[in-house]
């Protein structure tokens, strides 16, 4: 699924928007969703979903599928808030009360608002695009370098893993439970050795290209648009203000 999201992001209509613009929008609303009352959360959820579906034109089916994943976890978690237990005259009572239902709804709204921000960002911005941005925010070079190498070689690794699995399956390596365990062990050992070998060869490959201890990376071609960033900030302030005005409403 993560792979699918990253793949989609490369073809996204908003791929060429500056990552900082998208990060400001998603990050700003994400921060707000931590402490907004219910009204604000619903506005954020609605706004991000509209921007994602109508602005960035993420297909409805894909957006729905990706949103369904956190939704499943959150609904299970919230269900424990929903039901109230009480003990009267030796009997256990299950009940729905305002004290349970409201926090449960708020929890679901908060989690989904936050998730929608992250999902919007990851469906419009491929990993390779935002990683160079970390340099600008003074993330240590070693960390960014490691992230970039990991990202690049995750795919090489995954490809190798699936080839190994196919090869083992072709030789009937997973017929019984016992042989499946054995096969998994062999694949793990093989991958480990190969990873070490690969690491050594990458080092040679990078040295051949005059690598000198730091992976340089090309920043995004265009500069982020200031009006968009300011617009996003104003939007955040407006939502925060609405949240502030409505925080005393019933069920907020």
């Amino acid at each position: 699924m993560v792979h699918l999201m990253d793949c989609y992001a490369y073809t996204s209509r908003w791929r060429l928007r500056h990552p900082a613009e998208k990060a400001a929008f998603a990050g700003g609303l994400l921060l707000l969703s931590f402490f907004m009352p219910l009204s604000g959360l619903l506005i954020i959820l609605l706004m991000v979903s509209l921007v994602a579906l109508l602005g960035a034109r993420i297909p409805y089916a894909l957006y729905g599928r990706v949103m369904a994943i956190p939704m499943a976890f959150i609904l299970i978690g919230a269900s424990s808030l929903l039901v109230t237990l009480s003990f009267h005259s030796g009997l256990i009572h299950f009940g729905l009360t305002n004290d349970g239902v409201i926090p449960a709804i708020r929890l679901v709204a908060r989690a989904m608002a936050a998730a929608s921000c992250l999902i919007f960002f990851s469906l419009t911005t491929p990993t390779a695009d935002w990683m160079p941005l970390l340099r600008k925010f003074y993330v240590p070079t070693v960390v960014v370098d490691l992230m970039m190498m990991t990202y690049r070689h995750l795919f090489v690794f995954a490809e190798r893993l699936s080839t190994l699995q196919q090869a083992q399956a072709a030789r009937l390596g997973n017929l019984t439970f016992k042989s499946r365990i054995r096969t998994t062990g062999l694949i793990g050992a093989n991958l480990f050795i190969r990873s070490l070998d690969r690491a050594r060869r990458i080092e040679l490959g990078m040295e051949a290209r005059c690598y000198n201890g730091e992976i340089p990376c090309l920043p995004f071609e265009r500069k982020p648009s200031l009006p968009i960033i300011i617009g996003v900030l104003i939007l955040c302030l407006v939502i925060a203000w609405i949240g502030f005005l409505t925080k005393r409403w019933p069920y907020a």
Partner: protein
Amino acid sequence: MPDCILEARDLHYRYPCGKVALRGLNLRVTAGRKLAVLGANGSGKTTLFLCLNGTYKPTAGSVYIKGQLAGYSRTDLLSWRKQVGLVFQDPDDQIVGGTVIQDIAFGPLNLGHSHEAARRIAMETMNQIGISDFADRPAHELSHGERKIIAMAGILAMKPTLVILDEPTAGLDPTWTEKIMEMLNAIHQNGTTVVLSTHNMDFAYEWADEAVILAKGATQCVGPVGEVLAQDEAMRNAQLYPPLLLLTARYLGLTGDGTPPRSRQQLLGRLSG
């Protein structure tokens, strides 16, 4: 005396595990020529190439760049690799960037170019070999052939005077092989000297000016490709087979006038003409 751009004199290389890969190898690369390095698996081609760009330091013998003894200090290696670019056989060993343009700009950025300059150079290189529409694609979604070309572009962007390619056509279908040949010819037209290793004798016969046969870590035979590939004895000793084209031409008696056909088209032309 033709211009010698890179020379290996009496190279010996022994791997830490004790395996001897090169035993007194001599090689001269002439500027502006296309050289094919031929040899069976394990004959020392890859080890030789890694010695020729300073990745491996030979156990004995030395490498000369334009007549100057090559050194192994950091600055020496930097200028060495700037002049001699090495494209590895497996592109995944060499591709670093997440997207194609990020990867191709890696070399120029390492050479100290500014972001703008590196981006410009990367775009120019991509235009030159006709892959400019790849720029923003992720490296992991490319096919094997495309990745080989990206790895090549990554080296070309560093503007070396000599490019060494380790089996650029290994594992590629005939269409990709032809594409690579065209690209190599274009690079050569721009004044770059090209050295490559291959197991594809037909490719070597059609493409190269000169050929060298390696066996057991030493040079067995050097010369114009037509002459080298026609030396049956040396070829057999190195466990190589002459190109089918040459055998056919011989059989048909087309080698007599000194210009045997070098490509399929030429052979067909001679047969019909």
